[in-house]
Symmetry: C2
DNA sequence: TAGCGTACATAGAGATTCTAGGTATGACTT
DNA sequence: AAGTCATACCTAGAATCTCTATGTACGCTA
């Protein structure tokens, strides 16, 4: 589902997660809640999309994880941005802007 | 993949093609050229993405095709929007705006 | 006749997202 | 005490889309 159509996130999940982590380390569940809150639930973060995404990005060296405990005493896996992750975020941000501007040119075309 | 990440079009190809056809019937190759011209080549429309997309949309009843001839005498397949295609375009347009606005909220967040 | 642009088509690979399950713990309710 | 809910992580497999690579065909031009 590109994005794709199957999925509503259309390939932007990594970008969204990386951006979220610029506000400090967070665990997966917390990232999902923050994204949903920030967008007034316009974005729904499915766990079946989120955890594989986190795993991919960790493997690529964009984020790193450590185990900790939440305020209510639950075991959580805390992710933070690496230097490479910051670079990746800059790159994906630029690509996203470039892409959406191109789509906007088409959608706002007249004639 | 999309959206997707493998692909640069992230699942928006159908939307872009439907929008292109609001300016009148066009053949596949012409749609690709128009999109590239309109976006100053920011979007590259691969034929391996375009033709399957046209097939899908024809099968779904969003566009319909008829054979014709180009100005230089080549056999071309001319697509036009159906009523269902116009409805689909309105729907996908709205979803796209909704989605990009949500992403923008995240990307422009501060804190 | 070699090359280029036009024009359509498809198979298979690659990538991402989603559905649908599973495991575990603590807090709160009945 | 038992049931339910929210928190929290994880994974397999399906679905979908885009891309790479390739093939066919024709007309023009150098």
């Amino acid at each position: 589902m590109t994005a794709p159509r199957g999925g509503l996130l259309q390939g932007t999940l990594d970008l969204l997660v990386l951006k979220t982590l610029t506000w400090g380390p967070r665990h997966g569940y917390g990232i999902a809640r923050w994204l949903e809150d920030t967008t007034d639930d316009a974005l729904q973060i499915e766990e079946g999309s989120l955890y594989p995404s986190l795993y991919r990005m960790e493997r690529r060296g964009w984020i790193e994880a450590s185990w900790g405990a939440s305020e209510i005493g639950k075991r959580i896996k805390i992710y933070s941005l690496t230097r490479a992750g910051r670079a990746q975020l800059r790159s994906e941000s630029a690509q996203w802007r470039h892409f959406t501007m191109a789509v906007a040119k088409v959608m706002e075309s007249h004639a």
